[in-house]
């Protein structure tokens, strides 16, 4: 589980990509996401994926992005099989399967290089209500904590003789009760404690609190966004003006 989470959850890094303005990272991910939807040939899709792999390498998160890709490949395999069965078109099926991986990776790069604090700032820039932003960012921030909780709860229950992998499907589902109840109870308790701690530190005292972080776009921000825009432009041009070359 922790292996899987490594491909989705933010970890502090010191690459040029980590240091980018979060708005640039968001824009870059949105552009990559859209480009994957516009790409109509395997060649274009591979180009987008190569761009994302290059960015991941530059951001020193290639290993974790590779985990995301490996995990997504399972679902892609399913998408491929279903498409082959229903469309009988091998190339389109491959395209859809790769597209799914590309979509997940484009969002994954954003989340694993953007801290919850940066995410909060980006959401605030979109003028979203402060409570909604806070709730969302807190939820994101607590994902790794809950994963750790889950592992510790599983350890505690296994040490009391619980065998999660034993029995038929119904028994296995029932075996999850000793895991889920402490997890939910802990989460509720933690949210209550967090709310009290926030109020004790004057949360909500003023309608517009000041911010610690002030972002200014740098050359690196502009460069990365320009590269993504160029890729997007090629895909858009190809989508509207070029008939895709299909393999015989």
């Amino acid at each position: 589980m922790m292996w899987l989470s490594g491909g989705f959850i933010f970890r502090r890094g010191d690459s040029f990509y980590h240091r980018l303005d979060p708005r640039a990272k968001l824009l870059n991910s949105v552009l990559m996401f859209t480009t994957t939807l516009l790409a109509r040939s395997i060649f274009e899709m591979v180009l987008v994926i190569l761009f994302m792999v290059g960015l991941s390498a530059a951001a020193t998160v290639l290993k974790r992005v590779a985990r995301t890709m490996a995990f997504t490949a399972l679902f892609s395999g399913f998408i491929f099989v279903v498409n082959v069965l229903f469309t009988r078109d091998l190339e389109t099926s491959v395209l859809y399967a790769i597209r799914f991986i590309a979509i997940v990776v484009s969002t994954s790069i954003f989340f694993i290089t953007t801290s919850p604090d940066e995410l909060e700032q980006v959401m605030k820039m979109f003028r979203l209500p402060r409570d909604v932003v806070f709730a969302f960012v807190t939820a994101v921030r607590f994902i790794p904590v809950m994963m750790l909780d889950t592992i510790q709860i599983m350890d505690a229950q296994k040490s009391r003789g619980l065998e999660l992998e034993k029995g038929n499907l119904i028994r296995r589902v029932r075996n999850m009760i000793p895991i889920l109840i402490p997890l939910v109870v802990n989460s509720v308790m933690r949210s209550g404690e967090l709310a009290e701690a926030m109020e004790a530190r004057a949360y909500g005292a003023v309608p517009r609190p000041t911010s610690l972080l002030v972002y200014r776009a740098t050359r690196a921000d502009v460069g990365v966004v320009c590269a993504a825009v160029a890729l997007f432009a090629i895909a858009a041009y190809s989508f509207y003006f070029v008939v895709p070359v299909r393999f015989p």
Binding site: D155, Q157, S159, R160, G161, E163, P182, V185
Partner: protein
């Protein structure tokens, strides 16, 4: 009973939690694991129950290699009370919570009832029998987790920070329970930062630092080694400090820190 043979373990985040640990705990021994946060104490405990498997080396529990046994099999011999009781409490009532492991291990119903009653009385939780374990105080939850472990009578009892959230009286009771387990021939391993709790019950002390065992010996010897303890960020017991301070002065009446302890106890009596 428990043997670590050159055990190393690296967490998924790359942190080396155990680095060539070799340690032997014989049946009936009482051992305290002390050391700074992140020294590898809890990781060591998890290796005994098979929750973690060594990257290199081997861990033997009662002659069984933990890599060849499931956690459920090892748990029948090794009971572990983890640090945070909220990670295990889930049942509707305290007695159901206590019976959970007993049922998992297939004890007959009459034995389950008997063991549950015994455990609840031992830890002063009888009045909460039909209450939800979730409404108990932090200290009571901690005691309940201990009761849950002792209920199935494991050969080895491992307690991870058992004194957290306990008041002075409960700590005394806990110390009494540990000594009772020791006299009953159980192997007891306690992970604790609470040196003042450990000192009077005189365990064999294993000091850990950076995933290695850096000190191992009787409490009186280890607790007097100020440099060793300081390097592992462990405080000396106040009585040992008091003894060492007195010992620097000429004409001290004490030849052993335990003499100082006895003298201090007598001096405090009315």
């Amino acid at each position: 009973m428990i043997e670590f043979r050159d055990v190393s373990f690296v967490h998924q985040n790359g942190v080396r939690a155990l680095d060539g640990v070799s340690l032997r705990v014989d049946a009936g021994e009482f051992v305290a694991l002390v050391g700074e946060n992140g020294a590898g104490k809890t990781t060591l405990v998890k290796h005994v129950t098979g929750l973690l498997k060594p990257a290199s080396g081997s861990v033997l529990v009662d002659g069984v290699d933990t890599r060849a046994a499931s956690t459920a099999q090892l748990s029948r011999k090794v009971g572990v009370a983890f640090q945070n009781p909220d990670h295990q409490l889930f049942s509707e009532t305290v007695e159901e919570e206590m019976s959970f492991a007993l049922r998992n291990f297939g004890f007959p119903p009459e034995v389950v009832r008997e063991r549950v009653s015994w455990g609840l009385e031992l830890f002063g939780l009888g009045e909460y029998r039909r209450s939800s374990p979730l409404i108990l105080s932090g200290g009571e939850k901690k005691r309940l987790t201990l009761a849950c472990i002792l209920a199935w009578d494991p050969q080895v009892v491992m307690l991870d920070e058992p004194t957290v959230g306990q008041d002075a009286i409960q700590k005394e009771k806990l110390a009494g329970t540990i000594l009772m387990l020791k006299s009953a021939g159980k192997t007891v391993v306690v992970v604790s930062h609470d040196i003042e709790f450990l000192w009077p019950i005189q365990p064999r002390v294993v000091v850990m630092k950076g995933g290695r065992v850096v000190g191992d010996g009787p409490a009186t010897a280890i607790m007097q080694d100020r440099d060793l303890l300081a390097s592992a960020r462990v405080a000396q017991p106040q009585l040992v400090e008091f003894y060492q301070e007195l010992h620097r002065r000429p004409g001290t009446p004490f030849v052993h820190p335990l003499d100082a302890a006895r003298w201090a106890e007598e001096a405090m009596l009315p």
